[in-house]
Every structure is written in structure tokens, then in C-alpha cells.
């Protein structure tokens, strides 16, 4: 087959650029500018897909995104499921097949890139048909920043397929000139192949641009914030409901006209046109003039337009008034239409029948304005009796609708309403806009339409082949069944029948189904209304929405100034929030446990070093900083002297531990607070929340300075010596540099703030230098520590060391249900302060209980055993039938180098009163005995702190 249905000339395809594609194994030819649908029709392929539920043959119904039937699976260049053939551009190598209702996902990874653009504009024009182009022209000439977006490959909308004239010349000339002028305006951005699919609050609209498989990004999401929006989204033609209205070869009249005029394709040789309104006559005339035999125009109305009748008579086309197509024949394609006299409106149809052979049946039941975006933006709609469809009826957004979406169908009126909307939008955006002149169009008188929901007298009285929603195979019978079951609401009927839930979200079936439901219920269509319109207007790939946020870019990777060094040393990393933290540094042949035991031993016996730059750091400044910190920490920070450091706990309002860290007073009105690595952002948000909503009178400013400082923990009995070697100016003696104080001075030639704090119980110094110098200072310390066997260690060793000392980790040993008292840290809760976050909650009956879960230590009787973290604690060795009462759980558990055994921290009900008791922890299915201990396992006296 080779384009035997292609007209010899005309159309907007590029005949110099033939393309070859494969449809279900057939090698076919089309042209650049073809859609897959137009190319298939040119090759005489009408049966494209198989219906979803009943497996019926389905063809091409429409010429755009509203297509309910012709769904294809693209196989090459890359598999993509369920695309309407009417929206797929043909290109060399395209391989596709018809879909039987379900799509297939590729098993290989999608190699394409997807990206996102952010933009603002004064006027966003959605749709570049006559109304949209006229609107853009008015707005653009005022100098406003205008974006024009249209789903199609070229601008022009209905003008591309209508063959009509403007100013006595081809309408496409006006489209070309208008587009060219718009392109010259520096503030105008034209976005063809771009579907605006979502309309969110405050004129935030999102669009999908198809950039092509060869582009640097295949698809692009545009996030657009518009001062003013013009919705020129057009209208979709409505099919008609009769028996067998789903056969291939049944096509919307306007779409058939598009195939002839735009693609130079004949969708058939011998056509019947069935309409309820004037618009299908233009299709009949155009198809006739292109060589299609129009066997009959079947008009449901009693009186037909004399204007169109005379054009038909000139061409010998016979019009059957008061007549309908009630059923069809054919299997893979329609072979005949069955006509019946409908009688006057409201009367019962007669049974007179006539069978007309044809290979094409054009249908038009009127036009449904594409109110989707208007409705998404919470605009209301009303039922317009004149067109038998819903039209926009007010919006709270800075938006206006223009053209066919308002229910105006004549081209001249669309142009005018567009030009006005563009001018008004530009003016509303502050520009001195004038009305662009619109070209003259031929104005045919419009005769009132007849609204037909189910064509009366359709032969299939049970309605099982009268399809309301072709995409879901939902029929009049289904609607009747739903109503008979008691459903009297469109939402319920939709859910009962699945109408409107397919890939097309009911673009052609929405109003129709409301009409059919209303008819079955015997109520007005306007009373029932529509179901809710939701984004996206047309389907959008997951990948486009994901954009660049995939793989390494899924979430930012944060690394410290010393990261490369850690990598070079073969560290393994732990994700902590967005940070990569060294987990441990295995030597060759070491497993994790061996490496961690070695690192732990090195710190306890000599000196170790950890990169703790990731700990959150917040600079707190202002005259009320002290008062503020007194409110957010459980302990008192206002009494902290400049030069000193205090450990602090933060609670949420319910009294539960939220975060912890150190508070360093650097000046009278200035503190530096540290947070956990993973909690930094939450802590800052929490503090800002209270500052900005509850304590607005406090003069305090918060600044995240985490990345300003690279921070090195130098830990172990030899740490003082190492520091002294590289920072000779610093007084590192215990007397001169006491625990929980800080000093400034040169460390390895870099100005540093050094703090005496310890999270391991060992003598330790925390050295803060500007981020830039982090690695340099780190390496100097490493070199300086070499004679002392300095050992870098990671988070795992840090965890073990602090657990041996019973220091909890917020988020590991706490879970949002643990108070400072539960942790045994009542010493950190001020009894003197009038108020602080959490204080009131400590007096609540449940929070004040003394038998709450307490942080305790556990020693498994089997000293070789390391309990699994997360293991539960029970009272008895026999578990019995569930539910088994649980006392608590293991929060941290390790093997200790200094203890020579496994040990754990746990939270246990009434734990502090159970010290010495034997409890049980189910490991696998075997409860193992454990002894409850104080949570401090090592150096209970704190003798090692000062070296």
C-alpha cells in the first residue's frame, strides 16, 4: 500500500520528506507533517486498535488529543505505552502497533533526558487557534511579555484543517503572517508542541513541551507564572450515540475535514454525514470537493440551513432532515449506516429504515468547549442551552476565556473575542494595549442545533453497543444499569460505569455521558453538572515530571571539605540526611566489625580523628538571643559565659526530645549552636517557626553556617599532644583550656576556633576552620598525629564510643516519644526557668509517670552476642501466644573493644528500677537473656575526659 488515499496535492505535509514507518509489521510511508493517524489513513488503514473491554475493532475517531479510540503502543525508537495515533508524529524508524487496552512498559532504561524550565510572563495564551493568535497579537503589540503555547506542531488550530479564507486569502496565510509577527516581538515566546496541562493557584500553569527524541531533552516541563491568562483552548466535537457507533470508519466530522485539508488524506470514498448542527456541512462540502462521494447528509433537525442546503444541492448531495443514523454494519470497518426518521423533536421516531452503504460515517453531535483548564483553576461552568454543552462561567483567577471555549463557534467571533481577551489581559497586566485588527471571515448563518444524547430509535434497544465512552467501552446499557441501581449523581455513575476515566479523561464523552445520564434520569443536563476536571489535561510521562531529579540529581549530595581524602583512604560512606559521612575506613581484608574494633581501640588508647563537619551549625545573633535560647533549650543558656560551651537538649511542645547539641557563647549577643547532622534543617525550621509565629517580639536572627566551618574532632589520650604540635600558640593544658570552653588560635597555620568537647568520654578537641582550609588542616593533623598512631574513624566507631559512655543519639535512641527524664538527663532540664518548649508537658499525667521507658544498658548473658538493633525486650523467657507484652527495644547495639563483649542501649519500661534484672530479647525465635545495667559502660567516673 502506498498512500492510495493521499490527494495529489494540497495539505500541509512536506512531500519532499517522505518517511518510512512500521505499523504492526507493515512497512508504510508517510510524510513529514503527518501524524501516525493521518499516515495510516493515507495508507487505507482504519482499524487501529482493539477495544478495552469487549475486544471490538476500533479506528480513528478524531484528529487530536481527544481521540478515544486509536491507541497505539510505540515500540521504536523507544517503547512508550498508550499514545493516541492522532498525536504521534511520524518519523523514519517509527514502529508502532495497535493497543488492546493495555500498554507495555519498556524493560530497558529510558536513555532520554527530561528537563524543566521556569518562566514568568505578563500574558500566557493557551492555544494558538484563531482566538489564541488574535489574543497574542493584541497583547504582544503592547510590549507585554507573552507566551503562546499550543499542543500542535504548528500554530493555527482549527484554521489548519478548515480550508477557510480570511481577508479573502487562505486562513493559513494569516496564521503564517501572525506567527511571523509574534516571533519578531522580543518579549514573545512561542511554544508549539507544548500542552498546558495544569492550572494551579495564583496563575501557576504547567506545560509539557515535546522537543523530540533527538533534542537535548526529549520533553520539557514549563513552570509558568503568568500575570494574566487567556484560555483559548477551543472545543472538541461530540460524537453521537447509536448502535454500533464505535466501528472503524466512524469519525468526527470536523476531524475528517482536518484530514482532507491539512493532511491531504481521504478518510474514505463513500461517506454518510450524520449531524445535529451546521458544522458538519462544511466537512461534507470539503470532502465532496476533495473527491469523496457524500451519499447522504443525515440531519436530526426538522429544518435545515438553507445556506448549507444550497451548497449541498449545487453538489448533488442529498440531505435527509429529521433523520438519524440508528445503527451500522461492518466488522473491521463500517459498511453501511442504517437511517431512521426521527420525527420532530419530542416525538417518538418512526420505524422507517433505509440502509446506506458507505465506508465512512461522519458524526457531529455539537461541540464541547474545552473547559478543562478553566475548571482546574476552580472556574465555574454553566450549561449553555444553545450549544448543549458546558461553558466557562466566571473565575477567581486573573484569567479570561476566548474563542470556541466560550461556546462561540464562528471563526470571526473567535478572532474578535481573542483579540479582545488579549487586549484586556495586557491592560490588566499594566500595558497600554489596543485591539489588534482581526481579518474578515466569511460568516455563514448558524441555525440552532438539536441536542441528541441517545439517538432515538436506535435499533439496539438494550443499549449494549451504544457506546457513550468508547475509550472505556461504556455503553448506554451501562448507564441505565447504574441508574437502575440507584445512582443519581454523575460521580457515582462515572464510578459505576468507569466513564471518563480512560487516557482521554472523557474529552469526547464527558458532556455526552452527562446528557445520557440526564436523559435516563429524566432531569436537565445542567442540573447534573460535570465531574471534576483534574490535571493533567493530557497524559504526561512520569519521566517528564521527574525531570532532572533522577540518579545522582535525585537529591543533592552534600560532602565535606575533606571528602576526597576519605575517598582516597577507602572509606565506606553512610548517607546521613543528604550528607555522605565516612562510616568506617577498612584496611585491606578487614570487615566492618574488625575495622570498627581497631578504630575504637585506637581512639581509646592513642588518638583518632573524625570529620564532624556535617553537624548542623546555626549562628544565633541579637539582643534577645539568650532569652530565645532559654525558651528553646530545656536547660538555661542565658547564664552561659562568653567563652564557654554547654550541652543542650531541645524538646518539642509535647516534651519529647527533638534535637541536641552544644551551645557556644561567642559574644554577649551571639551564640553558635550545633545540631545533629540529619536534623539541622528541621531544627532551623523549628526555631524559625517559633520566632516568626509565637515570639515575634524577640530580636534574634538565625543563620545556617554549617558549611562555613570544616570541623575536625581530635580525640583520645594523645590528642593534646598532637594539637600542641601543630598549634604551638595554643594553650592546650587542662588549666588553660578547660573542658567545655573554647579558644581561638592558629592551628596548622589557619585561624581556628577550638572547642573542648567530647562525645566519646576521651580527651578531645573540636577544631573549626573555614571550610576552604578543611582538608589542609586535616592533613596537617594527620601528619602530625602519625607518630602517635593517629587513626581516622567514621560514624560507626563514633556510635560505639559514645554508646560505651551512655550518650544517646537523638533519632536512634530516641524516637519522638522520649523525654529528657526518660533519658536520665533530668540534669539538663532547668527547674528555674519560667518557661521553655516542653516544660508544660512534663507535668502531664502520662509524661510525669515514673515507670515510663528509660534509657538503660543491656548486657547479653552470652558475651559474644551482639543483639540486633530493633530487637524487642520482654519479661519472660516463654513468649506464649501473641500479643506478647513488650517492655521496650534495643536502640543501639555493638561489640566493644574495651569491654570485650557485646553491649546495648535500650529503652525499657521502668528501666532504671530494673537495673540488675534479667530480661529477654527475642533474637530470631529464641528469647535470649540480657541483664539490665546503667547506660554508662565505660569510665563511669569521667576520669578520661581531661586526659
Amino acid at each position: 500500500m502506498s498512500n492510495e488515499f493521499r490527494l495529489a496535492d494540497g495539505g500541509r505535509i512536506d512531500r519532499d520528506r517522505p518517511v518510512r514507518f512500521d505499523f504492526e509489521g507493515q512497512q508504510l510511508q508517510g510524510y513529514a507533517g503527518d501524524t501516525l493517524a493521518s499516515a495510516l489513513l493515507a495508507n487505507g488503514v482504519h482499524r487501529v486498535a482493539t477495544s478495552n473491554k469487549y475486544g471490538r475493532p476500533r479506528g480513528i475517531m478524531a484528529a487530536g488529543a481527544e481521540e478515544p479510540n486509536a491507541l497505539v503502543q510505540v515500540e521504536a525508537p523507544f517503547p512508550e505505552p498508550m499514545l493516541p495515533a492522532t498525536t504521534v508524529e511520524v518519523r523514519d524508524g517509527l514502529q508502532a502497533s495497535g493497543l488492546p487496552g493495555k500498554g507495555r512498559l519498556a524493560t530497558e532504561e529510558d536513555p532520554a533526558r527530561y528537563d524543566t524550565m521556569h518562566t514568568h510572563c505578563d500574558v500566557l495564551v493557551v492555544g494558538a487557534g484563531p482566538a489564541g493568535l488574535a489574543a497574542a497579537l493584541s497583547a504582544a503589540r503592547s510590549g507585554a511579555r507573552v507566551i503562546v503555547a499550543d499542543a500542535d506542531t504548528e500554530f493555527g488550530g482549527s484554521l489548519l484543517g478548515s480550508g477557510q479564507t480570511l481577508d479573502g486569502r487562505a486562513a493559513t496565510d494569516w496564521v503564517r503572517r501572525t506567527t511571523a509577527e509574534l516571533a519578531e516581538h522580543p518579549e514573545v515566546r512561542l511554544l508549539p508542541r507544548t500542552t498546558v496541562f495544569g492550572y494551579y493557584e495564583d496563575n501557576y500553569l504547567v506545560a509539557l513541551e515535546h522537543r523530540g527524541d533527538d533534542a537535548s531533552s526529549r520533553q520539557r516541563i514549563w513552570r509558568m507564572r503568568a500575570r494574566e491568562v487567556v484560555l483559548a483552548t477551543g472545543a472538541h466535537e461530540r460524537p453521537l450515540v447509536f448502535s454500533g457507533n464505535d466501528r472503524p470508519g466512524i469519525m468526527l466530522a470536523g476531524s475528517a475535514r482536518t484530514y482532507v485539508n491539512r493532511y491531504a488524506v481521504l478518510p474514505g470514498r463513500r461517506a454518510v454525514v450524520f449531524t445535529t448542527n451546521d458544522s458538519a456541512y462544511a466537512a461534507a462540502i470539503d470532502l465532496h470537493d476533495a473527491g469523496v462521494e457524500i451519499v447522504a447528509v443525515v440531519d436530526a433537525r426538522e429544518v435545515v440551513s438553507t445556506y448549507w442546503a444550497s451548497l449541498c444541492v449545487e453538489r448533488g448531495i442529498r440531505i435527509h432532515a429529521s433523520t438519524g443514523v440508528v445503527s451500522t454494519s461492518g466488522t473491521d470497518r463500517i459498511t453501511s449506516a442504517h437511517l431512521s426518521s426521527l420525527g420532530p423533536e419530542g416525538n417518538h421516531p418512526t420505524s422507517v429504515r433505509q440502509v446506506v452503504t458507505c465506508d465512512l460515517l461522519l458524526v457531529s453531535g455539537g461541540w464541547n468547549p474545552a473547559v478543562h483548564l478553566h475548571s482546574q483553576a476552580r472556574g465555574s461552568v454553566r450549561f449553555a442551552e444553545d450549544i448543549g454543552a458546558f461553558v466557562p462561567d466566571g473565575t477567581d483567577q486573573a484569567a479570561r476565556s476566548a474563542g470556541a471555549v466560550t461556546g462561540v463557534l464562528a471563526t470571526g467571533k473567535c478572532l474578535t473575542s481573542g483579540a479582545e481577551a488579549g487586549r484586556d489581559a495586557a491592560r490588566a497586566a499594566g500595558f497600554d494595549a489596543e485591539l489588534a485588527r482581526v481579518p474578515d471571515s466569511k460568516h455563514a448563518p448558524i441555525l440552532a442545533a438539536r441536542h441528541l444524547w441517545v439517538v432515538p430509535g436506535s435499533g439496539d434497544s438494550d443499549g449494549t453497543t451504544q457506546f457513550v465512552d468508547l475509550a472505556r467501552d461504556a455503553t448506554v446499557a451501562d448507564v441505565r444499569r447504574a441508574v437502575a441501581a440507584g445512582m443519581d449523581n454523575v460521580e457515582h455513575v462515572k464510578r459505576y460505569t468507569t466513564i471518563g476515566t480512560a487516557h482521554d479523561q472523557g474529552k469526547t464523552s464527558g458532556t455526552l455521558s452527562t446528557g445520557v445520564i440526564a436523559e435516563v434520569l429524566g432531569v436537565g443536563v445542567g442540573e447534573l453538572g460535570t465531574t471534576t476536571f483534574r490535571a493533567p489535561y493530557t497524559p504526561v510521562t512520569f519521566a517528564a515530571l521527574a525531570g532532572r531529579e533522577r540518579g545522582d540529581l535525585y537529591d543533592p549530595v552534600r560532602v565535606t571539605a575533606m571528602h576526597d581524602w576519605h575517598v582516597e583512604q577507602g572509606a565506606l560512606f553512610e548517607n546521613v540526611g543528604q550528607w555522605k559521612r565516612p562510616w568506617y575506613y577498612p584496611h585491606s581484608g578487614e570487615d566492618m566489625e574488625t575495622a570498627v574494633l581497631r578504630e575504637c581501640y585506637a581512639v581509646r588508647s592513642g588518638v583518632g580523628m573524625q570529620d564532624v563537619s556535617t553537624l548542623g551549625k546555626i549562628d544565633v545573633q541579637g539582643p534577645d538571643a539568650a532569652e530565645f535560647l532559654d525558651l528553646v533549650y530545656t536547660n538555661k543558656m542565658s547564664t552561659l559565659k562568653v567563652g564557654r560551651i554547654r550541652y543542650g537538649l531541645m524538646c518539642t511542645a509535647d516534651g519529647m526530645v527533638f534535637d541536641d547539641g552544644t551551645v557556644t557563647r561567642t559574644a554577649e549577643h551571639r551564640y553558635l549552636i550545633s545540631t545533629t547532622s540529619g536534623g539541622a534543617a528541621n531544627v532551623l525550621a523549628h526555631l524559625e517557626d517559633w520566632l516568626q509565629t509565637e515570639w515575634t517580639h524577640l530580636r534574634v536572627h538565625l543563620t545556617s553556617v554549617t558549611e562555613h566551618w570544616a570541623t575536625i574532632a581530635l580525640v583520645g589520650p594523645e590528642s593534646r599532644q598532637v594539637l600542641a604540635d601543630v598549634a604551638p600558640e595554643l594553650d592546650v593544658d587542662n588549666d588553660g583550656f578547660g573542658f567545655m570552653t573554647w579558644q581561638e588560635g592558629n592551628v596548622a597555620g589557619v585561624h581556628a576556633r577550638v572547642c573542648r568537647i567530647s562525645f566519646s568520654g576521651e580527651l578531645a578537641f573540636e577544631i573549626n576552620v573555614p571550610w576552604w582550609y578543611g582538608r589542609e588542616v586535616w592533613e596537617v593533623l594527620m601528619a602530625g598525629g602519625r607518630p602517635y598512631g593517629i587513626t581516622p574513624y567514621g560514624t560507626e566507631t563514633m556510635h560505639v564510643l559514645r554508646a560505651e559512655k551512655g550518650f544517646p543519639i537523638v533519632g536512634q535512641d530516641t524516637d519522638g516519644t522520649i523525654t529528657p527524664h526518660d533519658l536520665g538527663m533530668s540534669w539538663a532540664v532547668s527547674k528555674k526557668k519560667d518557661d521553655f518548649l516542653g516544660k508544660r508537658s512534663f507535668s502531664r499525667p502520662d509524661t510525669a509517670r515514673t515507670d515510663r521507658k528509660h534509657l538503660v544498658g543491656l548486657l547479653p548473658e552470652d558475651t559474644n552476642l551482639v543483639l540486633p538493633e530493633g530487637a524487642q525486650i520482654v519479661e519472660q523467657p516463654e513468649l506464649g501466644e501473641p500479643p506478647v507484652p513488650m517492655l521496650g527495644h534495643v536502640t543501639s547495639s555493638y561489640r566493644s573493644a574495651v569491654l570485650g563483649s557485646g553491649f546495648a542501649l535500650a529503652v525499657v519500661k521502668g528501666g532504671r528500677d530494673r537495673v540488675g534484672e534479667t530480661l529477654y530479647s527475642p533474637v530470631g525465635d529464641r528469647p535470649v537473656p540480657v541483664t539490665v545495667t546503667e547506660p554508662v559502660f565505660y569510665d563511669k567516673e569521667g576520669a578520661r575526659r581531661d586526659g
Binding site: P81, E109, A502, P539, A543, G870, M886
Partner: protein
């Protein structure tokens, strides 16, 4: 190509569902809210407690709120005893509900994987599994390889930004078809003579002192022996008329579906840190959800960036979803309490009972809620399973805090 009929094997709805009566002037019990919880409560009031002079009042269309908007995941693998008790009771009811209601609920116990992506999530997951087992809830901890065996399309490679370090697995968890569940209850109620009144918005309460004796509605006053509230986010709006402030905040929660696809996804996968949850429904569409939108709102729509982030997570975990299409997004209103657990029980007002604050967990609890709330209303005291979920806990501090260690937002 042989025609296939993938949709044909879905069961049809019955030929009769429910009447739409006008409200009577008086009932023994009035239930405010015709969603899943209201319908289930009415059902168990009728079946377990013999109360049928009852109306369920719905301001919109029946089961049109969160019941029509959720992602239909059912599981009971909650951390705390209180939650596990209630959700496991619900799951056991789910296991017999299809038969009891004689309605095809499409209840499919295909299991749920809750992924862990950090060492802390792993600890939390093991803790939850251990607690679940001791509570009689089926649960296992799986390593990445076992996860891959259950869900081969999941990206379990180590080069993921946040690799899958393992998952908890509850085999008895699964999905059901939300509308079918609501309609099953509604049909049963209609048969028992309970009035399901749609388009009837409760606007306030009739009271004598601290005793509630009826409700004011857009269709006139209705007297009631007892009033049970099951109106989710709207509950606090209503109790405000009584001067009773409830600790709930309403947020948008969005969900979305793809087109119909050939079966690729055998189970339910949920991830909190690569935040998305996804299953493939019976017809073949992927059903996805993620976290709540952070702002407060009663509008049943959310923000676009939430969807974008959710899709990034979906493609990150399931690379093969790249070219699946989002057909439709929508939003519900979820009412969230300070401890992320529900409120169910008595109020300071006599004959007024409250059930709200289910956040993102309401659907899976539906039959359990109905069972326990019905008990509460019928006996004028909470069922042991919902006693911990009292309103008083926010005063006493006996919270059931599910957003900490549970690590699971739904």
C-alpha cells in the same frame, strides 16, 4: 493480534445499590459523614448492636470524600501496640468482608514492602517487624536480594542515591477497590433499612446543656438519640460550633493514576525517604501517592511540585515507569493529629462521639473503625481497641506517636 479483554474480568457492580431517601425528623442514631468510616460504623451498629433506626448524613455524594480518593492500601504493620491492635483487627475483618457483604471488593492480599534507605530506617524497620511479630502481625525483614525477588522491577542496585537497604514485608497486606468497599457497606445498610441521605450537610448541633439531641442540616433539623461524627477534616469545623476545639489540622494529600498497563508490579511498595507508594490496580493502572502537602487546606487539590517530587521518587525506584503516563491527579483532605494517630471515642458532650484524625491511614482501618466506633456509640464507652485513641490523651500525654519510630506516614 488476538483481541484481549483485560477489563472484562472485573466484576460488575450489583444491579441494586441504595435508595436516596429524604431525611426523617428523628433517628436513634445519626452518623455525620457518609464516607467509609461513617458507612462502616452504621453497618456494625446495625449488625452487631441491632440499631437500624439510623441515618447516615452526607453533605455531598456518598463516599465521595477521602473514600473515593485514597490509594486503597491495606496493612496492619504498625509499630505501637495500640495501632497494631486496631489495624490488625481491621485486617482480620477485611479478610472476611467480601463474603460478609457479598460484594466483590477486589481485596487482594499481595503484600506490602516498606523500604528502608538508611541505617536508621533499617533499625526502625527491624524494630517494627519484631514488634509486629510479638503482636501477632505477620511481618518479616527482607534484605535487598529478597526484596528484589518479591518485586523484580524495583531498583535495588547499590548506586541508587538512597539504595534500598532492605524492607519490611507483610504478606497479608494488600489493596482493595475503595468504591466497592463503600458501596458494599451502603448496599447492606440500605437493605437493613438505614437511611443514606446524600446532599444533606450537617451545619451544627441541637443541644440541651451538654447533651446533644440532634443536628442542624441544610435539609432541616434532625433529632437524634446519639450523634456519631465521621467527617474527617470537617469534624473540627463542626465541633467548633460547640466550642470544642479538636487537635487536628487538615492538609491536602494527592494521588494519581497511570494508564492501563500490562501487569508489571506484583505487590505494594512504600518508601518514606524516597517518598512514594505504588501498587498496580486490577485493571492495570499504576496507583501512586506520596506525602501530604505541607500547608493547611480544605481544598481537595494540592500543589504541582508535590507531584513532581513524587514522580522523581517513582522513577528513581522503578526506572521502567519512565514512560508511563500520569492520566489524572487528584487530592483529598486529610486530618492530621499531633501524634499522627486517630481520635476515636467520647467527647465532653453527652451522646456525641467523634472519629477523626486518621490522617493518611483511614482507608485501611475502615472495618476496624466501624466495629470499634459502633461499639463506642452503642455502649457509650470505647471498645478496648480504641480506648487508647481518646481525645483525653492530648491532655494526659498518653500519645500514640506514629511519626517517630514507625517511620511510616500512612
Amino acid at each position: 493480534m488476538a483481541p484481549r479483554t483485560p477489563g472484562a474480568d472485573l466484576p460488575e457492580h450489583p444491579t441494586w445499590l441504595w435508595h436516596s431517601p429524604d431525611p426523617k425528623s428523628s433517628y436513634d442514631v445519626v452518623i455525620v459523614g457518609g464516607g467509609g468510616h461513617g458507612l462502616a460504623t452504621a453497618y456494625y451498629l446495625a449488625v452487631n448492636h441491632g440499631i437500624t433506626n439510623m441515618a447516615v448524613l452526607e453533605k455531598g455524594w456518598l463516599a465521595g470524600g477521602n473514600m473515593a480518593r485514597n490509594t486503597a492500601i491495606i496493612r496492619s504493620n504498625y509499630l505501637w501496640d495500640e495501632s497494631a491492635g486496631l489495624y490488625e483487627h481491621a485486617l482480620k475483618l477485611w479478610e472476611g468482608l467480601e463474603e460478609e457483604l457479598d460484594y466483590p471488593l477486589l481485596f487482594s492480599q499481595r503484600g506490602v514492602l516498606n523500604l528502608a534507605h538508611s541505617l536508621q530506617e533499617k533499625r526502625d524497620s527491624v524494630r517494627r517487624v519484631e514488634a509486629n511479630r510479638l503482636n501477632g502481625v505477620d511481618a518479616e525483614w527482607l534484605d535487598p536480594q529478597q526484596v528484589a525477588e518479591i518485586c523484580p522491577i524495583l531498583n535495588t542496585s547499590e548506586d541508587l542515591r538512597y539504595p534500598v537497604l532492605g524492607a519490611t514485608w507483610q504478606p497479608r497486606a494488600g489493596i482493595a477497590k475503595h468504591d466497592h468497599v463503600a458501596w458494599g457497606f451502603a448496599r447492606a445498610l440500605d437493605r437493613m433499612g438505614v437511611d443514606l441521605v446524600q446532599g444533606c450537610e450537617v451545619t451544627g448541633f441541637e443541644r440541651v446543656g451538654d447533651r446533644v439531641v440532634g443536628v442542624e442540616t441544610t435539609r432541616g433539623p434532625i433529632r437524634a438519640g446519639k450523634v456519631a461524627m465521621a467527617a474527617a477534616g470537617r469534624t473540627s469545623v463542626l465541633t467548633d460550633t460547640l466550642g470544642l476545639r479538636l487537635p487536628i489540622q487538615s492538609h491536602p494529600l494527592q494521588a494519581l493514576v497511570s494508564e492501563l498497563l500490562e501487569p508489571v508490579h506484583p505487590t505494594v511498595v512504600m518508601s518514606n525517604s524516597v517518598h512514594v507508594y505504588v501498587s498496580q490496580a486490577h485493571k492495570g493502572e499504576l496507583v501512586l501517592g506520596a506525602g501530604i502537602d505541607s500547608y493547611n487546606s480544605y481544598s481537595q487539590r494540592g500543589a504541582f511540585h508535590t507531584i513532581e517530587r513524587e514522580m522523581a521518587a517513582a522513577v528513581e525506584l522503578f526506572p521502567m515507569f519512565a514512560r508511563a503516563h500520569v492520566l489524572r491527579t487528584w487530592g483529598g483532605v486529610v486530618d492530621v493529629t499531633p501524634d499522627a494517630s486517630a481520635i476515636m471515642g467520647m467527647t465532653p458532650f453527652e451522646n456525641l462521639y467523634v472519629n477523626c484524625g486518621w490522617g493518611t491511614g483511614g482507608f485501611k482501618a475502615t472495618p476496624g473503625v466501624g466495629w470499634c466506633f459502633a461499639h463506642t456509640v452503642a455502649h457509650d464507652e470505647p471498645h478496648p481497641l480504641n480506648a487508647p485513641f481518646s481525645l483525653e490523651r492530648f491532655t494526659t500525654g498518653a500519645l500514640v506517636d506514629e511519626h517517630g519510630a514507625a517511620g511510616v506516614a500512612h
